[in-house]
Symmetry: C2
Subunit: 461 residues, 2 copies
Amino acid sequence: MSAGWLRRRFLPKGPLPAPRPPRPHTSPVPYRRPRFLRGSGSCPGTADAPSLPEARPVRCPARSRTLPWNAGYAEIINAEKSEFNEDQAACGKLCIQRCEFGAEEDQEWLTLCAEEFLTGHYWALFDGHGGPAAAILAANTLHSCLRRQLAAIVEGMVATQPPMHLSGRCICPSDPQFVEEKGIKTEDLVIGALENAFQECDEVIGRELEAAGQVGGCTALVAVSLQGKLYVANAGDSRAILVRRDEVRPLSSEFTPETERQRIQQLAFVYPELLAGEFTRLEFPRRLKGDDLGQKVLFRDYHMNGWSYKCVEKSDLKYPLIHGQGRQARLLGTLAVSRGLGDHQLRVLDTNIQLKPFLLSVPQVTVLDMDQLELQEEDVVVMATDGLWDVLSNEQVAQMVRSFLLGTQEDPHRFSELAQMLIHSTQGKNGDPTEEGQVSYDDISVFVIPLYSQGQGSNGH
Amino acid sequence: MSAGWLRRRFLPKGPLPAPRPPRPHTSPVPYRRPRFLRGSGSCPGTADAPSLPEARPVRCPARSRTLPWNAGYAEIINAEKSEFNEDQAACGKLCIQRCEFGAEEDQEWLTLCAEEFLTGHYWALFDGHGGPAAAILAANTLHSCLRRQLAAIVEGMVATQPPMHLSGRCICPSDPQFVEEKGIKTEDLVIGALENAFQECDEVIGRELEAAGQVGGCTALVAVSLQGKLYVANAGDSRAILVRRDEVRPLSSEFTPETERQRIQQLAFVYPELLAGEFTRLEFPRRLKGDDLGQKVLFRDYHMNGWSYKCVEKSDLKYPLIHGQGRQARLLGTLAVSRGLGDHQLRVLDTNIQLKPFLLSVPQVTVLDMDQLELQEEDVVVMATDGLWDVLSNEQVAQMVRSFLLGTQEDPHRFSELAQMLIHSTQGKNGDPTEEGQVSYDDISVFVIPLYSQGQGSNGH
């Protein structure tokens, strides 16, 4: 595997260490100490095109759209809340070759291979908790899982319509009709591949952390540009938005104990033993006290979107399965997100109650058809971990993006600088603080992905 | 309970039989043979205001909005696919009095009571299957359950913000703040009451049908006008839409094996014994055959929105948990809906496999804030069972509504005639067939509810 396959801003500049071969199932990954970017620190990223000999636009064989290889700029900040940076990122070119599902593979990936069958691009942000271990593993692993999943279905992806049988052999003459009636499209295969890749990566992380005696979990936000479409897969509370001149469009939803309340409560209803008698699955406006006993108080259960009143019993005084609201909402008093990778070992403090049964590793995938957009040069996707969105709304970010790009049209590094500017604005350091003057104390990572490409002659912005 | 509390078009004209008192928990309800409306038959409805001495607009004490008591027109057709009409309907005025939750009640409801505390209106459509028993029970019962649920929380409903404690006594000084932080509003109490009422009604139907040795289930679509808002609760495949001059807005979503695929598949994953080894929970584009064994075919499992390929094993050849697409999709080869009331005894033909664990009785509730709408005289809500929507799209219905109301401004019976016209258009009998000339062979019921009211002086249009 050649160097440069995956370069992260927190790695030291200069020659990259040789990345591990894609055999994540076999041995634990030792932590690699990241390089910290402190405060306003900004390391010229390896994602910047000019420094990369392989930076060139690549034409996708199946579609006419091209994207510059370096069409993504990351900025990562360590807020020093932990020794190791819990935010991790990965991006790179995505070369998919035909392969048999399940066959042993030792082809390179995310390298510039001359004979790739299908080419795309990959950007990923991972926001770790309980240490950076899961986030580092995810940044090293998820793309391999995705590559494997895509390689297994590449023949279906390049067909006009996915065939019922991957071999292309019709067992039943009306197979194409059945596929059409189900409305199955090529993009459904990529969505399925992303869903499976997240699950596979989660299993890998579980095994590797257990083998290494380590713990932790992370959220995952992934964007994949493939065949003229941008796929955004999200598991956690990071966020991606599309910013255009006249439009701001969310490309992901957050998954937190609040947004997934009903799913989580229902699981506790089906398997009450998961709460070990320590928690109540019911939601109340606040934690109940002894004085509430016998009173009729507001509550809701798993089957309710609305609220009702119930007479408080002793079991209602237990700590709630989901407690707090907004950014303070916690699952089992422990975790602020309800989807992500890892956390196989995570337990409620001083108990044996596991968090994992309540967590999903499956992402929600949205698809942006770039061919339908009539893209302009200033159209970008902004991906960021929750630290940014804690202090800036979608609209505020969109306004900052527009006004920054308007004044920097000739700057070849404008998107990279935009990513830096967005982060710095949350630190109160560039004279452009948020409207409410809010400052973030969280690790923050931002990708700015320009969607517009001027074709093969793209100058790489 | 006075006559006229609930009048359905299928009941004989003339003096109404005395309705049963609201004690649905105690004894089974014998089937009441409905009056059939065949083909173009149109029985002057008891919902028509002029024939009702009690038809008068009623002012809701908590809000200034008024609705004429007869603000809903139903038309029901029996397509003769069964001896008894499987479509049933109910509408009436909703008088909610203060009461203690759980207290014995013998107050009248849906009657014109002079001292009601809170007044609203109620419309409901029930589309039965496996006979009309469940639909008749639901039409006789659901409003009682809802009245009971609303009466129990009426003090919370009339407050600016629902109190944490129903008694109004603050145990904790910051209770109002907790309620506000959770964003709990009055309308959430009504949503909760509707959700609970559907569940309670489902339990009543289960008990009554079992006691009577009868079977069957039904969908339920309910609209409730209360305190200036219209609540639409749906469990099944009926549909309500708002039609205005420049807008068509769906007020409900359909719940079918297809739209609830992931929930149903997940239940089968958690409890595989529910399938008794007879079904596969996986979805394929078509039912697999022996020739497919060993091939890689398209499939998806409960965690997937996208599709992938899998190598066909022998167990994949079983009949799929959900099979067919569109109107033909069936749950366990048996049922076309995934939510509704009843069906406690329903089993897959010649097996002991129960449908009920896969069915939900909880409705999805949407809220229309009529005070925000600047209502016009032609603004209506159209509620109809699936027979109408099988052959007419939302847009087609909206166009028919607009053009009909434009030409009948002086007609006091226009909304009633509109309901008739909509049904007749699906029978190819009024020279205004659907664009594709489609004809429905299903029972069809339609409510047309005009939202506009000219206040107390309303002439009952």
